[in-house]
């Protein structure tokens, strides 16, 4: 299995949607070179549009954050994941195409 396939498997939205009270709708990622010049990953977690800012506290997304970080490490992926969060409507408004 290539590293890309391993990352796809760890970041599969289906698995992250199954976490308790998961706000996840979709997960997208791409290779990223961070501001230190290190190879890394940028992961965009797309959140349920029906959730308000008040619904989306860190406690709500922390299990998703943990599952991504621990899953990548357990799969031997040493690339640091820079995890971003947005609702699809926000991505559309901001013209962010992931």
């Amino acid at each position: 299995m290539t590293q890309e396939e391993v990352i796809d498997k760890v970041l599969a939205p289906e698995a992250l949607r199954r976490l308790p009270n998961s706000p996840v709708v979709d997960v997208r990622w791409h290779p990223y070179v961070d501001t230190m010049g290190e190879d890394a990953l940028e992961v965009m977690v797309v959140l349920d549009d029906s959730l308000t800012d008040k619904d989306l506290k860190w406690e709500r997304v922390a299990p998703v954050n943990r599952a991504i970080r621990d899953g990548l490490l357990a799969a031997g992926v040493r690339l640091f994941p820079y995890i971003r969060w947005a609702r699809q409507t926000e991505l559309d408004d901001l013209g962010i195409d992931y």
């Binding site: 961070d34 501001t35 230190m36 290190e38 959140l47 800012d53 989306l56 506290k57 860190w58 406690e59 997304v61 922390a62 954050n65 970080r69 490490l73 040493r78 640091f80 820079y82 995890i83 971003r84 969060w85 947005a86 609702r87 926000e90 991505l91 408004d93 901001l94 013209g95 962010i96």
Partner: protein, 173 residues
């Protein structure tokens, strides 16, 4: 009595992120990201100074002087290692095997993430932030700081604070 600088910065970041209820201005979100990073930056420097120089008022000048010696890139490099959960063999040889407790790992992750986002917020004109991303970043910093109290006396946490100042000079020894 005034709140510590890190607390003021974090509160300011939250206020900025909540401005403009309908359509947040990118300038406000960018300053909020930057403020959240600097809250964490100054908090960790305060903690490192406390470890190195104590808290007596007579040493305030020394603490202020030492605070200027911390380098963003060095702090980030140390944080990336601690976030990975494993210390280099060169460090283990000197200090023995240390387990990095979860709250320390989370703090190191948050520092790595927030510093990178701060660079983008301050310098990259292409990156755009959503409000929820910025609010979650601030929340993440807040919880990482809250978790610090449970590990601050742990040997790995003390090593982390030293590493923030000395990482490039100790990691390969």
């Amino acid at each position: 009595m005034a709140q510590p600088l890190f607390r003021q910065l974090l509160n300011q970041a939250r206020r900025l992120a909540r401005l403009d209820p309908r359509r947040p201005q990118q300038a406000n979100l960018r300053r909020a990201v930057s403020g959240a990073y600097y809250a964490l930056f100054h908090f960790l420097i305060d903690e490192a100074n406390r470890l190195l120089l104590g808290t007596t008022p007579g040493h305030a000048g020394l603490r202020n002087l030492t605070a200027r010696a911390f380098v963003h890139a060095e702090m980030a490099a140390a944080s990336r290692t601690f976030a990975g959960g494993t210390l280099p063999a060169t460090i283990v040889r000197q200090v023995g095997t240390l387990t990095i407790p979860a709250p320390l790992r989370e703090l190191a992750e948050q520092f790595s993430l927030t510093q990178d986002r701060r660079h983008l917020a301050d310098y990259d004109r292409v990156t755009r932030f959503s409000r929820v991303e910025v609010l979650l970043l601030i929340d993440g910093v807040e919880l990482a700081l809250a978790g610090w109290g449970s590990v601050r006396n742990d040997a790995a946490a003390k090593l982390f604070l030293l590493a923030l100042l000395l990482w490039t000079r100790i990691r390969d020894k």
